[in-house]
Subunit: 317 residues, 2 copies
Amino acid sequence: MPNYWWVNHKRTFKQEISSGYLWSPKTEAGGSRSQFYDNMRLTSPDDWVVSYADTAISYVGRIAGFCVTAPKPAEFGQAGTNWSVEGWRVPTEWVKLNRPVYPRSIIEQLVPLLPKKYSPFNVRTARGNQKAYLAAISEGVFDLVLREGGVARKALESLVRLAGASSVDQIEDEIELEIKRNRSLTETEKDQLIKARRGQGSYRKNVIEVESSCRVTGIFNPNLLIASHMRPWRSCATPDERLDGYNGLLLSPHIDFLFDRGFISFDDQGHLLISSRLAQADAAKLGLLNCGAPTMKPFLPEQLPYIRYHRSNVFMS
Amino acid sequence: MPNYWWVNHKRTFKQEISSGYLWSPKTEAGGSRSQFYDNMRLTSPDDWVVSYADTAISYVGRIAGFCVTAPKPAEFGQAGTNWSVEGWRVPTEWVKLNRPVYPRSIIEQLVPLLPKKYSPFNVRTARGNQKAYLAAISEGVFDLVLREGGVARKALESLVRLAGASSVDQIEDEIELEIKRNRSLTETEKDQLIKARRGQGSYRKNVIEVESSCRVTGIFNPNLLIASHMRPWRSCATPDERLDGYNGLLLSPHIDFLFDRGFISFDDQGHLLISSRLAQADAAKLGLLNCGAPTMKPFLPEQLPYIRYHRSNVFMS
């Protein structure tokens, strides 16, 4: 069953709609947590979202992939200067309504459908709630918006394009361009940083010096293993982190895939953690349930900051 | 145990050495098979090769990855006009000898070490055999070349850089550039062709219409499946083939990895084939041995040319 969401866009409305995503900081400016930012990680592919900006809902969207940790989009420019450089990003396919919907003008119908707690819309001021970026709403609100916007639900299903996981590729393509343009790096440094994106080059060599086999399948053959960042390549704070052998695991391809997307992680002792987002039946088909952790071993002190980053920022507990 | 090879470079010596690969057509110009081209597929990572060109051996190399089907390198230019546009490519890391070795001048030592059949070197003419591109040699020949070339075997192991599977990325980057420059394609067409490289966009949608689950693990959840070309993206003859849903399987990430690199394939009836290059123990750890083909089904007539291409050109039987 899909969930339904309401996003209050502010100055980054155009960028998020035209490039197809939601982006939020991870915390308030002071560092405190916010339910409205935490909600980013609770979205799932095929959830629906209504976009409110400048008094109107003009777009609805379909969540096109899981939330990922990602740098603040460069295209925000001045509009996002107060926000942290790292945040949550959810790929979203947007569709324009046939006519904009003004919540102010349908407030009697809206009020009984809105949540009592963490509401995206302030009924008294008849505006979006100041601090509410992404809020859960009922299916009823979503259907009301579609009706008022002149779009049939059925039409929408065929309108919305098929999801792509290419959102991360897009982000990383931009970072790759920045690296290529960076005049303070030598050509060799650029080459190695770019190869590290795909787990190749000196990064792979560095990882092999720390880890010798897949921590889940126990495979040793390097031709079958991928060097996988714990703190993702796109989220590394420095070039050194992108190449650091301690920031890597040597994983079988399906384990790499699940680890990269946050379906699995490891605790400090090396025990496998499986996300509730991964169905038991699928975990079984991927050999996760009876693998018996053949090569379970605690992480080294140098690895701990990286695996902890993964648990907090990539793993979908 | 590594195998040892001898390559007779001709006009493409410089390109192959400086870009780090071996490339050969798949057959003779007339279409007949050649042991010297078939040998390309018998190489393995960590095999060794000596490079003969213009009367001397100046380089030795280490095979850095398995042989892949790949278009003729654009950098060959006029030098390769007689060759087919598709061939075999083996990533190779080259090291220059301290002094060139002239087989002509050490022919007495060489003769007893050379193979009687399919020899790379013609003892009577004291030149490379005309039709011999890649030939198997004994470890003795390799050691003789190292000795004469003034390089200790031990030094070589540390000299040769770590292998990368990035060779295919490099080829595909070039094709992507060509697509971007192609004036006969619209921007949307370019976008879809480039997305297809990573199994995304309309290609993925097309594949999902033909295949619904992984043929090995039986997983249906699209968030866990990769749209994988049977005839590789880099080897497709036309743009349509790159986007054709019949030219794709929906595979779990490790199955995609093995299929892409030719460790597995399928027969026309859909039975899983496992390459002898994949160790039984590794196949077991990847869940291939007791998977019981949960979704085994014959290929459709439209899929047959593609799966047959995969068996002949990607699968390492």
